[in-house]
Amino acid sequence: MQALDNVRILDLTHHIAGPYATRLFADFGADVIKIEQPGGDIARQLGPFKGDVPHPEKSGTFFYLNCNKRSVVLDLKTGEGREALGALALTADLVVESFAPGKLDGLGLGYGFFHALKPDLPVVSLTNFGQTGPYRDFKLTDLTLYAFAGEMYSMGETDREPIKMAGTAALFESGAAAAVGIMGALFASKRFSVGQHVDVSLAETHFGGVDRRHATAIAFQFSGRKTIRLGSHGGGMPHGIYPCADGYVDFTNAGLRPNRVAEMLNHAAWLDDPRFSDPVQRMNPDVIEEWNGHFIGWCIERTKREIWEEARRAKVMCGPMFTMEDLFTDDAFRNRGFWASTQHSELGDVTLPGRPFIMQKGGWELRRAAPLLGQHTVEVLTEAGLSPAQISAASGGAA
């Protein structure tokens, strides 16, 4: 058994954050029924595509986000589509949706629709800024979300524009946070028969999030100090990112443990300079720069893997900056079982990251590849008791 294999989620989310949240439930056994409108989740239009050719069944992004789910096409603009949704809701433990605020209400499918069917059925809505407030209808992308609500201001060089994270990392953060809120709603329903309309604002998942926004806000309240943008330069022995023989290594905060750093460097003679061990001199920028001159010399003679090995031996905090090729070809990750693979009718054999965490019991499984659009329409709606004619009408003729 899997831990959540007695949970059914009616998933009306699309794009990235919502589907990532529901994928976590699917990964641990939940029956996640992904409702797609005719034409499909917009994530099907997002690259990378196999062979770089856009195709709704060849998106690597969609694939990653939707493994372990079943896809049902419903035309929610039709009465038959809405009736089918109601039939599915009766069998579900929770509904999650990510339409713009008011969109489902306009279709007669707002919280009241579900609440009338099943009073203890939680409905979780993921929106950009929440269901209320002056920005309720504003658009957010990964870039604008992170710029406004995340800690982008502090990232990059002082005299240049602030810079975002990679890919759509901010949306994945929001998705992970949403999964916890969804789980909260599920527990409240299961334990106390509480149904409720949960309002998750992607912006608030960042304004309240742990990647420094939580602390920069209260630091300002405490001290009046604003956030600065400072690159990663200097300030420690070592601290920040350094070039090496075949790339770069990150030694952020490693200098907090000078004894370990000395051990990593095999107590090189240049470390004997008394200024390098004097606590006051260690804060002197000129002394730091001189120390780093020696240290860069040490780094540049070694590869990132060699440096990491020395750092591990001496318990120094260090991260070699891997490329995707480095990661895919790394034996340690492979041998730990980090990678998973599955087969897909359009993509063939697909390798992707596996378990987000390891449970001894009831844990992660890759039961099925991401669904083709509407792959399970007939299967799921038949289970819900619909006739072939009803299924055809509900799916807008797609099945």
Binding site: F49, L140, G208, G319
Partner: protein, 441 residues
């Protein structure tokens, strides 16, 4: 009185730094009781600050989130009001015990017997050094759920690698996938998105295991290898390599899915970056209709109707030129005004908000996002709010950021029901304290 989703669940927080405390904070927000054992003789760096008693110079020279103490003063109890600590330790309780001594471990074992979850994210080997293993915990409580968050997992050649979130993100590829495409990656600012996802998924993992325990009666051990866990954030780059063998690099503020333009542009600034008074606006155009709307919203300059820019492919090809044209326009605009104008036209645009400006933002005010908390050592301040609104089981900040040893009486007397004699003995032995021992730096 309303229910809380996790009421009645007790979690022992043996966490350090950010990723673990974030997980237990989310569980506390959902109503679990979070209890943090703390050692008066051992200071955990980067949890309650860099040092127990930092020199004023260190506080003054640190960046705001590390050194922004109330009134910029070290004061008497710096461990109680470090900005990163207070922002992760609401809805939690603290008691003190020295786990390096047998009677301290006995106390922990008795607390484990009364608890549901133990959560730890220490450097690999730390728990074993104290004798805290899953088997030891299970002997105290067969139903216990233990979550461990080693950086790279408990086995393999990297098992003992020391890492903060920033280091394992480097290994997972993030550091080479972000930053200015035209600059050396050594300019990349340290970030901690890995702590975010691992913390959130850690809370999710606990609840998944609780769900499983409700069904089967079984506790268990959960391992979150934080590096592996971070992989989700780099899905596009990972899948591009997986499907196509392509190695993506840093693409700055451009859209990983190729929609153009996407960038961060200068706005009218009341000052310079030297005083954090530079202002910028982020703009994302997702399709041709939005491009047209954008052009109209900024007054239809000739370049906005240049046919070279009418398709996404054309905008992508001429992205550098577009960035210059857009920058020349935005440089004369107020960031908030431009956000309203562009959003009104259906275009995603937001100021790059420096943290202090959050407190005057109308959206956050309208939603009552901030929560006032009063902590005896720090005073009354507005803190950022919860990550979700569950109206029938609301997140409440019932316990302000916890002071060191604030709940000694509660834990020892109410939960563990120690006798007056034992309490006195533990206190005499230094286990029960409300500040770090004077020997701790």
């Amino acid at each position: 009185m309303t229910h809380k989703p996790l009421e009645g669940i007790r979690v022992i927080d043996l966490c350090v730094v950010w990723a673990g405390p974030f997980a237990t904070m989310l569980l506390g927000d959902l109503g679990a009781e979070i209890i943090k054992p703390e050692n008066p003789f051992v200071f955990q760096p980067m949890t309650r600050g860099a040092m127990a008693r930092p020199p004023q110079m260190l506080v003054t020279n640190s960046i705001a989130w590390a050194g922004g103490l109330p009134n910029n003063e070290v004061g008497q109890r710096p461990w109680d009001y470090n900005p990163t600590f207070v922002s992760l330790y609401r809805n939690k309780k603290s008691f003190t015990v020295d786990l390096r001594r047998p009677e301290g471990m006995d106390i922990l074992g008795r607390l484990v017997a009364e608890s549901d979850v133990v959560y730890e994210n220490n450097a690999t080997g730390t728990m074993e050094g104290l004798g805290i293993t899953y088997d030891w915990l299970k002997a105290a409580n067969p139903r216990i759920i233990l979550v461990r968050v080693p950086a790279y997992g408990s086995d393999g050649p990297y098992a003992r690698a020391r890492a903060l979130g920033v280091h394992l993100e480097a290994v997972m590829g993030h550091s080479l996938l972000r930053g200015y495409p035209d600059a050396d990656p050594s300019s990349n600012t340290a970030i901690f998105s890995g702590d975010y996802v691992a913390g959130a998924q850690g809370a999710f993992a606990v609840m998944t295991a609780l769900w499983h325990r409700d069904r089967t009666g079984e506790g268990q051990l959960i391992e979150i290898a934080q590096a592996e866990n971070a992989a989700c954030m780099f899905t596009q780059a990972i899948m591009d390599y997986s499907l196509n063998g392509k190695t993506q690099g840093a693409n700055g503020n451009r859209d990983v899915h190729g929609r153009a333009p996407s960038g961060v542009y200068p706005a009218v600034s009341p000052g310079t970056s030297a005083t954090s008074d530079d202002r910028w606006i982020a703009i994302s155009i997702e399709d041709d209709d939005q491009w047209q709307a954008f052009g109209e919203a900024i007054g239809s300059p000739a370049w906005a109707s240049d046919p070279r820019f009418s398709t996404n492919a054309g905008r992508l090809e001429h992205h550098d030129e577009l960035d210059q044209l857009i920058s020349a326009y935005t440089a004369g605009q107020n960031d908030y005004d431009l956000m309203h104008r562009l959003q009104g036209a259906g275009v995603s645009a937001t100021p790059v908000l420096e943290a202090s400006r959050m407190f005057t933002d109308p959206q956050l005010r309208s939603r009552g996002f901030f929560r006032s908390q009063t902590q005896a050592a720090a005073g009354t301040h507005e803190y950022v709010g919860p990550l979700w609104n569950l109206p029938e089981t609301p997140v409440e900040f019932l316990q302000p950021p916890v002071m060191f040893g604030e709940h000694n009486d509660y834990v020892y007397r109410d939960v563990l029901k120690v006798s007056d004699d034992e309490y006195a003995s533990l206190k005499a032995g230094g286990h029960i304290a409300t500040e770090y021992d004077s020997s701790v730096l």
